[in-house]
């Protein structure tokens, strides 16, 4: 028997879930957050296999690990899961980094449309990046005030690098705090 925690990252990012896997002869019993499923799984080669679900359907799947991330392809769709160590990490990571606007892909910083002190609204374009010969508008994920801009036009940036740091709008903090 093995157990642990996984958190789905793709295509939707989700709360971490507890799993327990028991293998008995030809059957794999998977328990996810208390819900149990039975699968018949067989492998073809190192990282691909077939499984039969209780409804009798066969599904082919492939997977690969990149560090603690599991990429899984099944029935035409790609999923990414992260193995999580503890509850604490699970909740901290799913909360995200709400203050940072990050580069969604590697590329070059084009125009910067905001400066520190500017108020921005959710969906407002703050930076134009260039990648793969295309312009990509980077938008704020939430309302806020620009605390600082951490890149300059012409910078080459990696995926995930912070471009702009936001802070809470002062007038918005009041009513929220008193709730």
């Amino acid at each position: 028997m093995s157990q642990g925690q996984l958190r789905q990252q793709y295509p939707v990012s989700d709360q971490a879930f507890e799993y327990r896997v028991e293998t008995q002869d030809e059957t794999v019993r998977v328990n996810l957050d208390g819900n149990e499923t039975e699968l018949a799984v067989t492998a073809q080669g190192a990282q691909e296999g077939w499984c039969r679900t209780p409804d009798g359907n066969l599904h082919s799947f492939l997977w690969t690990w990149a560090g603690s991330a599991l990429q899984l392809w099944v029935d035409g769709d790609l999923f990414i899961f992260e193995k999580v160590e503890s509850r604490r990490q699970a909740t901290r990571e799913s909360a995200g980094h709400g203050n940072d606007i990050v580069a969604p892909m590697p590329g070059r910083v084009g125009q910067i449309l905001v400066q520190p002190g500017d108020s921005v609204e959710r969906g407002q374009t703050v930076i134009i990046m260039e990648s793969m010969k295309m312009e990509l508008e980077i938008a704020a994920q939430r309302d806020g005030v620009v605390k600082r801009v951490t890149v300059e036009p012409g910078d080459q940036v990696d995926k995930g690098l912070r471009l702009v740091e936001l802070e809470e709008r002062l007038e918005a903090a009041g009513p929220k705090g008193s709730e």
Binding site: E26, V30, V41, T42, E48, W65, W73, G76, D77, P106
Partner: protein
């Protein structure tokens, strides 16, 4: 095999088109020379080539767009001809001219053809003179000046801002009102300068919800010009074609005949030589068609024409460039069955189609009757941001439209890719959409009321994925204080720990 065409040809391109062109050359007994940038040094177009030369550099400008480097290599290795593929130098008259001056045959149209047709404003004038209807446009403009105001007063909003040197939707903006016009002119000009080195833009009347139907033409410069029927390219996202099919579900035999004749008229009046494509907008309401532009290159979507006609367009390009007569007659051109192409991009359909980069850990294309994959990538390859995010084109043929569509839908469900995120689930969603299946679509399909915006994922699929992830996670250590616990592969095979599992 010995060929009387050429003995050695350089392919000045990369990716799937450089592979596809070399496949034809090699099958004709012609030795191929590939050129490559540093990131592409082990790409399939390099490994398949009879000879490969480094261009030195990473970016497109340093490599595939550097005509002096390309021509120097061509001369050094003694090729008789250069095939430019599409994109990069393929529609640059300076390159075609430089090839001629270096004594190398350019496999494509003449520099004069490119000059006349590559500029969208000039080409529309040419079509007008050939008696082919065109969409009204303004002269080139930089800001809101008198000519712009006059055009706006005549045609109103919405209208399109387009790059004179444009293509592939770059430098194009839909403008809904006066306040959006100046920013659109500026940003379209900026994008056009970055993409084409030419910042001229113009305004064009907006035809709402048209279909984009194009006709393939072939001309030999000896007086023979034929069209090879149409391709319907109306499924577009941000003006980028993603699915193309032929025959178009929107054409009657009568309309097909008239549009084909118009395409040939444009090609003839331009004195066109080699393969080209005449693009039309088709108003689905009233079946009016308008000349849009003529592309002076092999198109990305050329395989669907090849699949229904049973011919090789690259072979014809090579034969025509070597001076052979086009022996194909218009009355011999009949489509057999139906073909559809889906463009597979390294883009995330769940996150606004952001390009995805990384190593292509698994790449397992489907196969079967009627399927064709034009691919420029191989499993294990690193995909970078330097170039276009298109990885491959999947083409399905069938005796009729429903059967080719079924083949495509199945193939898209049986195409595992790991390491990168692709648009495959999105393509599958479009192909499954009832309105698409009925052929009831236009260029606004993906932004309009089709409801297809992102892939749908059922709860069952989600549950199964979670269960399989739990199964695959057996015995994998979590991210602890020592992440370098050994190669991921060595730890990740559940078969080392899971015991015997078999299907009932």
């Amino acid at each position: 095999m010995y060929s009387e065409l050429f003995s050695k040809v350089l392919v000045a391109n990369r990716g799937e088109i450089a592979v596809r062109v070399q496949q034809t050359l090699q099958s004709l007994g012609i030795a191929t020379v590939a050129v490559y940038s540093d990131p592409d040094s082990t790409a399939p177009h390099v490994t398949m080539a009879d000879e490969a030369w480094a261009l030195g550099g990473e970016t497109a400008v340093e490599t595939y767009l550097d005509m002096e480097k390309v021509i120097a290599i061509a001369q050094r290795c003694g090729v008789e001809a250069i095939h430019p593929g599409y994109g990069f130098l393929s529609e640059d008259p300076r390159f075609a001219r430089a090839c001629g001056e270096a004594g190398i045959t350019f496999i494509g149209p003449t520099p004069e053809n490119m000059e006349a047709l590559g500029d969208k404003i000039r080409s529309k004038e040419l079509a007008r003179r050939a008696g082919v209807p065109v969409v009204p446009n303004s002269p080139p403009c930089k800001q809101v000046d008198a000519a712009v105001e006059e055009f706006v007063a005549t045609w109103g909003f919405p209208l399109l801002v387009k790059a004179a040197a444009g293509g592939g939707g770059r430098g194009m903006r839909l403008v809904g009102g006066l306040e959006e016009l100046a920013p659109a002119l500026e940003s379209a000009g900026r994008e056009a300068r970055a993409a084409f080195g030419d910042c001229r833009v113009f305004l064009e009347r907006y035809v709402p919800r048209p279909r984009h139907v194009e006709f393939q033409v072939l001309a030999d410069g000896l007086g023979n010009t034929v069209h090879l029927l149409e391709r319907d390219c109306s499924i577009q996202r941000r003006y980028q074609k993603i699915i193309e099919e032929t025959p178009s579900p929107a054409l009657t035999p009568e309309l097909r005949r008239r549009m084909g004749e118009a395409a040939v008229a444009v090609a003839r009046s331009a004195g066109y030589v080699n393969a080209g494509t005449v693009e039309f907008l088709l108003d689905s309401e009233n079946s009016q068609f308008y000349f849009l532009e003529m592309n002076t290159r092999l198109q990305v979507e050329h395989p669907i024409t090849e699949q229904v006609l049973g011919l090789d367009l690259v072979e014809w390009q090579v034969r025509i460039a070597s001076g052979e007569e086009l022996t194909l007659r218009q009355e011999e051109v009949h489509a057999r069955g139906h073909a559809v192409e889906c463009r597979i991009y390294a883009e995330d359909p769940y996150q606004n189609f952001v390009p995805s980069v990384g190593a292509l850990v698994r790449w397992v294309p489907p196969s079967g009757p009627g399927l064709r994959l034009d691919s420029g990538v191989a499993q294990g390859q690193e995909i970078s941001t330097h170039y276009d995010p298109m990885l491959a084109k999947l083409i399905a043929w069938g005796p009729d439209r429903p059967s080719s569509m079924r083949r495509m839908e199945l193939a898209l469900s049986q195409f595992p890719v790991l390491g990168l995120v692709t648009n495959i689930p999105f393509l599958r969603q479009v192909v499954r959409c009832p309105r698409f299946q009925e052929g009831d679509y236009d260029t606004g399909f993906l932004t309009g009321d089709s409801g297809v915006t992102r892939p749908e994922l059922s709860q069952e699929a989600q549950n199964l994925a979670q269960a399989l992830a739990a199964w695959a996670a057996q015995g994998i250590p979590g991210p602890g204080p020592t992440p370098q616990a050994g190669p991921a592969e060595a730890q990740s095979n559940p078969w080392r720990t899971a015991g015997k599992l078999r299907l009932p």
